[in-house]
Symmetry: C2
Subunit: 564 residues, 2 copies
């Protein structure tokens, strides 16, 4: 067989040769719509790569982005790995402190920053030292960032002559992204195809302890992972006829792989830019005839609220709404299916696994099951993707796959990481035989369906018995007046830990602890019932929209100081 390395230039070439006329659509910061084609994108990618090379970027160097989802970010997604360098999207929801740590830890050589995100960059620019900062000019945005930008200058003195620098759209001290692209000579682009195991992409994930840790994806892992969204057997099955809008940010786990997956399939890509509110998204869904989208459950919930407010308002073509990041409720899945004919596909993954691990597919057994049982399964993380292997263990060893016993899930596969970047502390994340410990407490059914009972750090152990915070949350979020609910473990002198619920009512609604307690009664064993409820305006969330339970635990302790 041919020695055909699975590298990103093969994807770029495929899109350029087969899908040159297909579109990439972006909502710009001024809310206008920008359109380009894969053909145009491929030329700009080559020019950007050639220009970055001229700026000193070499094989293995890191190039960071601080960007929303848009076509220029997609250009960087290809240009940087296709020239053999490593793309490093920065999570804009990290603190300035973490961002400066990450940029320095990764030794990012060049930074590409959205003009609208310069205020964030300015918060840590004095603590980092890239050789160049390239700003993507964005019409209709306030460019008044120059005054405080200090003495640093990341422009290339010998670079801009005649390339429009005299009237640059970006402030002094920065390179203009469009000038950089314009300056590149596409004919000088040299695709990196030597080694599929070479590094291509770097993501930092906020660990539970300590500093964020880097996960390095290879060309091989990205290309193999790209298949998951194209597989029908993963419940998504993206094709060239699809119009895909990844709501999940390109700065978070590579937007779950969609920018690469869609390019492989030739699907139309639609990027929402900075507008992630439900109305803006629904407008794009309708206007661009979006068929596939992906987001965390919080966004899904917001979209449902907006849809329900005026069910006839939008004409949608959505066939699949992929959710991940945290569990989804029956209510959400059933509402989308029954009221809008949209299939919500639950999935599970981690930045450490590129990120797709499993999806809740409709199996042949489920096809014949009752609607209720189908819903039971639709909210689970699902069946491992092809090439992903799973097992789980408790303190006694590997658990049987009986759907009852629980243990920590371990995974392996060609797109699962085996260590953190630059030797960061692994926190015991890897087993001695090379599997990744996920930190998720799960049961596994006889036929391999994963059901996440809790995060290992969120488990409530009461009187020696486990209580699933996730099960209680999903039940509470099924109450008609509840918008969100998070359940945490609180200290208890007798039972060691007891559950306590933080609940956000729906807009304009009220709900009482007594009402909630009555609602849960009968659904759970008596000892699972929360010891108390706090009705709150909002639940703190992580940078990727998950409930930040550590903050709730701290808040509880703060409000209920232990007596001694």
């Amino acid at each position: 067989m041919m020695d055909y390395q699975l590298t990103l230039p093969t994807l770029l070439r495929r899109a350029e040769s087969l899908f040159a006329h297909k579109e990439i659509v972006t909502r710009l910061p001024d809310r206008s719509i920008h359109r380009c084609t894969y053909g145009e994108l491929a030329v700009r990618v080559k020019k950007l790569a050639a220009a970055l090379h001229r700026l000193g970027v070499r094989q293995g160097d890191r190039v960071a982005t601080l960007s929303w989802n848009h076509s220029q970010h997609l250009e960087a997604y290809f240009a940087v790995p296709c020239m053999g360098a490593v793309l490093h999207p920065l999570n804009i929801r990290f603190s300035a402190d973490d961002l400066s740590y990450i940029v320095n830890h990764a030794e990012d050589k060049v930074l590409i920053v959205d003009q609208v995100l310069l205020p964030l960059f300015e918060q840590f620019k004095d603590r980092v030292n890239p050789s160049r900062v390239i700003v993507i000019p964005q019409a209709g945005t306030d460019a008044g960032f120059g005054a405080g930008s200090g003495g640093r200058a990341w422009t290339d003195a010998g670079f801009g002559a005649g390339s429009g620098f005299g009237e640059s759209r970006v402030a002094a001290g920065y390179l203009d992204y469009e000038d950089v692209v314009a300056s590149g000579d596409a004919s000088l682009f040299e695709p990196f195809e030597a080694d599929e195991y070479a590094a291509a992409f770097l993501c930092y994930t906020s660990g539970t302890t300590g500093r964020p840790k880097g996960v390095l994806y290879s060309h091989r892992s990205i290309l193999l992972h790209s298949m998951t969204s194209l597989f029908s057997c993963c419940g998504i099955g993206v094709t060239e006829t699809d119009v895909v809008l990844p709501i999940v940010p390109m700065f978070h786990a590579g937007a779950w792989g969609f920018p690469y997956n869609c390019t492989l399939a030739g699907a139309t890509q639609v990027f929402p830019g900075p507008y992630l509110d439900a109305e803006s998204l629904l407008e794009l869904f309708e206007g661009e005839r979006v068929t596939v989208t992906a987001a965390v459950p919080t966004v899904l919930r917001n979209i449902l609220v907006a849809l329900d407010a005026d069910p006839q308002k939008y004409g949608l073509c959505l066939r699949v709404f992929l959710v991940g990041g945290s569990g989804v409720s029956r209510h959400l899945v059933a509402s989308f299916a029954d009221r809008y004919g949209i299939r919500v596909v639950s999935s599970w993954g981690m930045t450490e696994m590129s990120p797709t691990g499993s999806t809740a597919v409709v199996s042949s057994r489920l096809q014949k099951a009752s609607k209720e049982e189908q819903l039971d399964y639709a909210i689970k993380p699902g069946l491992p993707a092809p090439f992903v292997e799973i097992r789980a263990r408790d303190e006694h060893g590997f658990i049987p796959w009986d759907g009852v016993r629980t243990g920590e899930l371990e995974v392996r596969g060609p797109w699962v990481c085996s260590s953190y970047y630059r030797g960061a502390e692994s926190d015991g994340r890897f087993t001695s035989d090379g599997w990744l410990r996920t930190g998720d407490i799960v049961s596994i059914t006889e036929d391999g369906w994963i059901d996440i009972k809790d995060r290992s750090k969120d488990v409530i152990k009461s009187g020696g018995e486990w209580i699933s915070s996730i099960a209680l949350e999903n039940a509470l979020m099924g109450h008609p007046s509840v918008h969100e609910a998070a359940v945490i473990a609180i200290p208890d002198p007798k039972w060691v830990e007891r559950p306590f619920a933080y609940v956000v009512p729906k807009a304009g609604m009220a709900v009482s602890p007594a009402e909630l307690q009555a609602f849960l009664r009968g659904q759970f064993a008596k000892f699972w019932m929360p010891d108390g409820y706090a009705i709150v305006d909002a639940i703190p969330k992580t940078s990727v929209g998950k409930f930040l339970k550590s903050a709730l635990r701290a808040q509880y302790i703060n409000e209920h100081p232990p007596r001694d």
Copy 2:
């Protein structure tokens, strides 16, 4: 990222752990139906592998099969590569002379033979020298082959004691497959997972000249190729809910990958055994609720004839009928779609490419096209599969992708071979930069659709202009009275070559050359019209069901000796 080798044991483990209860269904030679599960299959695979090891099979050794499509063949498909050896299915349609050549060339160490195929094996058994011959006992078949089996004995003297050999179901001199499996100790099975580039599978393809040539598939190439049938974007999108019946034989290009693809997806597999007639297949389609099937156009045509004979007879669940091996006609595609709601997906490939190269998908552009244009595209070989790259050239260099200019198609990709087994003459099949020359004369549209105009060896060059034999054949097969048509080049003193058509009328129908000529007139330029027609009972075919045009050319010359 983890060093996770793409090897076949990972597929076996997946099926065993996730799809243990899913079925593999076989029609046995006595027409009864045999059922087993992936769980049972996995145990038998391990036992077979352990037993083969005990019989002396080691890593890299070749184990040949002479078998129809059935569950034991599937066991060998996994047991042999999963122990690090190489499975080598023998094409039962090759001549005994070629088969003995192939077995000796491959140095097959063990042969596994269907009891019903022993008469074929007996034709060349004295010319080959495997260390063991294992016979799959098949109920209801005539086992009376022993008399002429001569003095050879491939049994293991120390093997059968107590394993039922005293009353073996197979003749003396052979091992009983079921005894072999029963003797294996599954706990001794050692999965081969060290190197995805290792050899796993060997296919011989009948070249246009000389002896058949071997193509060696690796674990990697098989696993990457397995994705093609699972991709929605290839128009097939097999899932766990599918019931797949590959009519294409497992001894031909690995049944186009379906045995492996289906195992990866967890689909139910249905094997027709030796019964490939339309009625037997239709019975299985209906009885087992088959959703996906695959065959050459000849079989598709036969099935259409049987369906049309009594359109209400069968209740079918077929959603996709994949065809390949040679071109399919508009008439066939339209008939299946309009009358039976079955989508015929045209595909193209070669044994040298594992074999899938392209499939005729419905692109976003075609979705909006007229039904006629959709049909124009549905009969083309289609768009290259993900990870397959194409180009074509004529005597002047690479041709533009304009849908008009023609040249020989060249391909590369991770499942395309780079040489023939054991240094067999490559006939100039590989370019200096490592692409495979396919021998197909094609045009390529602007958006990458391949259209095969002819085999390079079948091209008719008349007065310096090319005439497509395939286009004429497809037009003739659109005539209501024509069953099959093959067009060849005949020598012509003035034009060098001219087209001549061999035509088989439909059963009970008659057709005249004048009628055919009138039918073609207006569809083609005048110089394309065949110089003559021969109405015949059958067209000779190759071992894989393609028109054997070399035989027709010889027949023509024989019947029309050149005057001098």
